[in-house]
Symmetry: C2
Subunit: 179 residues, 2 copies
Amino acid sequence: MLQFVTGNDEKVREVEALLDADVSQFEFDYTEIQSPQLEAIAAHGAREAYREVGEPVIVDDSGLFVDALEGFPGPYSAYVENTVGIERVWRLVEPEADHGAAFRTVVAYCDGTDEDSVRTFEGRVAGEVVAPRGDGGFGYDPIFEHDGRTFAEMDPGEKNAVSHRGRAFEKFAEWYEQP
Amino acid sequence: MLQFVTGNDEKVREVEALLDADVSQFEFDYTEIQSPQLEAIAAHGAREAYREVGEPVIVDDSGLFVDALEGFPGPYSAYVENTVGIERVWRLVEPEADHGAAFRTVVAYCDGTDEDSVRTFEGRVAGEVVAPRGDGGFGYDPIFEHDGRTFAEMDPGEKNAVSHRGRAFEKFAEWYEQP
């Protein structure tokens, strides 16, 4: 059975809805390495989780990548949210000419111990960093605008329809279910 | 022989000058984990390096911890320097009431595979984040003021006399050489 390494059971249900297969939640505190690349962090975690559970696993990692800041906060988005805070991230971007940014999720799948046992799948949604608006969502949603509204101004269904995480898992599901 | 895990041979000479023992440079690309704690990052690296070389090892990790930003950029100081840049870090701190910050270094020593085979030693220097001044040093030195001057305005000897890294290695040397 496919093991999804996450503490969030809502994510497990989302992925199950995309797949024709059963998905089991595997709560495992894998090592998150430091890297500017989500791919490297998720792949390292998937290898470690595979060694632990001995069954095919998926691990996901996400971040907000601001163009004018060379991708910051990127893989460290949660740490920066908890320290700097999203209001200050907005103030950091405000004076820049380019407010472009992308939310990205990488899903890493691992089913063995060989070098080539890991595959990664990326979902991405482009937008702009703006002054905080909206009460919904979480994390950077209030300062991320896509198609005229921030993610915090969309209801969950609208947001999921365009979301980076949904797209990454759709790509994974497409590959996983190919005959 | 004590193995110092670093790519910087100047650091090796500095530590050798503090110790009565020979120190060997061990170039090894250990895994840096994500953690808000320098101790956890250095300790994890030291365990991994010990498993690789089989001799006592030291690993050091440093960062600038800004009080008003809950310790940011902390363990991610190098990443933030390369993306956000120190000029923008100053702009982030400028509107805050409290400009206090500390440079910190943690040295981790490991000589075995047991849980208690790692010891850590911390050096810290307190100061303030200021607008960039001075041409010396590297990294955050131009925006870190201690005793009226930025680290980039001090000559190397003055800076080393108060530096967090020197203090951490002194503490380590004192413990390492005790009879």
